[in-house]
């Protein structure tokens, strides 16, 4: 016993609870460089952004020069001027997330339960499109769906298709671009949680005379909830802030909040408005994410 105790003691860090935990300097030394990096280049910039968001350009000052005046009305002005893009961002991201879930769930289910020895190959195939640049793939979609692209020229051969039909520069194109680009983010966490399900629980459900559909609804879906939550977050968050899809596949009336932030920063050089918009976006997302995680009861995400 004493021998075992000695072994666990010198090894206490990995065993949770039980023997008293060793307090040494090592963890702090391990943490310090990375955390300092994150504090300097993530936390402090967020405060910098907050400070920029209430700045004002003095009368007659050069473009790009701003002074701090704690003008919180910047937020109201920025929001009122861009309400439409705001609502649109969350709407597009929401639709894209639902579509991605609908496409990914059967795919992940198939890889987890029906793929047999091909499982690993199929998983690689899910990630593989990622290796071609995200921008190149989006540009490829814009050309495939474009006015001279193969899809439209085929569709135009059909008698009931109007000559003036366009696929790019539409909300449809932007939403399908968002759906496409974040699919692996949805599929992988779904797969991870489906794969963990013990097939015996599904058999047990069948033994208790549950139909296939009931088993799916009452056993599979609840057990895969952590994957659903992680996947929807990993899709929704980047989709809501994205501006590449709207820029390459959309038109001026499909602009999302990311496009406004980008153009406020670079084209208009209006840093306070851009900062206020970014901050509102982040706050909205954090509130939504917190509510969502609370509601679905999965705290263990990290």
């Amino acid at each position: 016993m004493a021998f075992l105790h000695g072994a666990t003691k010198s090894h206490s860090a990995s065993s949770k609870g039980g023997s008293p935990k060793k307090r040494s300097l090592t963890p702090y030394l391990l943490l310090a460089p990375g955390l300092i990096w994150l504090i300097t280049f993530f936390v402090i910039p967020i405060f910098s952004l907050a400070s920029t968001s209430t700045m004002v350009r003095p009368q007659g000052a050069q473009i790009g020069t701003y002074v701090q005046e704690l003008r919180f009305a910047n937020y109201v002005d920025a929001f009122l001027a861009n309400q439409e893009q705001y609502v649109r961002s969350f709407l597009y991201a929401g639709i894209a997330t639902i579509l991605a879930l609908a496409i990914s769930y059967p795919l992940a289910y198939m890889i987890a339960f029906k793929a047999g020895k091909y499982r690993n190959i199929l998983l690689v195939l899910v990630v593989a499109p990622f290796f071609t640049s995200f921008l190149l793939r989006t540009v490829a979609w814009s050309q495939i769906l474009g006015d001279e692209g193969p899809v439209l020229s085929t569709l135009r051969l059909l008698p009931f298709v109007d000559e003036s039909l366009r696929l790019t520069a539409t909300p449809f194109a932007v939403v399908s671009g968002l759906t496409y680009n974040f699919l692996p983010f949805m599929t992988l966490p779904l797969y991870a949680s489906l794969e963990r399900i013990d097939p015996r629980t599904l058999e047990a459900s069948g033994d208790l005379y549950a139909s296939g559909f009931t088993t799916f609804r009452k056993v599979t879906v609840p057990l895969s909830m952590p994957g659903v939550v992680a996947g929807t977050l990993l899709t929704f968050i980047p989709a809501a802030g994205d501006y590449v899809n709207a820029a390459l596949l959309g038109n001026p009336s499909t602009k999302m909040i990311g496009n406004v932030i980008e153009s406020r920063f670079f084209a208009v050089v209006d840093y306070p408005t851009a900062a206020a918009l970014s901050f509102t976006l982040m706050a909205t997302i954090l509130i939504l994410v917190t509510l969502y995680i609370r509601k679905s009861g999965t705290d263990e995400l990290v």
Binding site: G34, L49, A128, F131, T132, L136
Partner: protein, 275 residues
Amino acid sequence: MSTQVIPRPSLSHRSSRWFSRNLIRIYAALAFIYLFIPVAYTFAFSFNDSGKSNLVWKGFTLDNWKNPCGAPQVCKAVANSLQIGVISTVLATILGTMIAFAISRHSFKGRKTTNLLIFLPMATPEVVLGASLLAMFLNLRINPGFLTIVIAHVMFCISFVVVTVKARVASLDPRLEQAAMDLYANERDTFRYVTLPLVMPGIAGAALLAFSLSFDDFIITNFNSGIESTFPKFVYISAARGIPAQANVIGSAMFFIALIIVIVGQVVSRQRKKS
């Protein structure tokens, strides 16, 4: 009593049964086709004898593959992206792995805050990460360029490295390390000869992930790059005028190189398991 003749199910009946039994496989096949359409398109148009605009098919050529630097600026952009990718990957992998070990193998004060600090960058949209860093650089009057891109990339890669390596450490069998200690290996040797080799695949995976995140990043880079070019930035800027076929060559080449690395990695790890 007559023998009952069981009617053979009709062809349409049988085919519809086959269909419903394999529905999920058909669905998955369609999903894979959907995933690969733009990849295949990019690859096909890398052989287009396109001249300036690579929008319509004009004929097959190998010229773009023979001379991938033929379009102005494209190789400069790729070289930049590779450099940034390598430096950021090395830094983020080291910093992230250290954090992962601290979190999974040590007790310390401020664990909750640490976890939050790791989680938040992943839960923040890229525009906000990019805009806030730029706001800080502007406030400090630092001109964005190569260095600020690396700083930004390391920042957003760390969290992904921590999560990946942590998962690997958590999946280790603690008995292996206990066995080493039982055989009188001290803590350092146990780490060096048992723990680290076992965690290595996780670290390699994390590094690969960090590199692809860095190489492919556009939004954060665009905010913090100034006039410095990267490959995604090159594609975005040339999208308006039409992307040269050489960009397709580079995108396709990256695809195949990464695929080979992943497949070799899988084969190696499978053979290790066997032996």
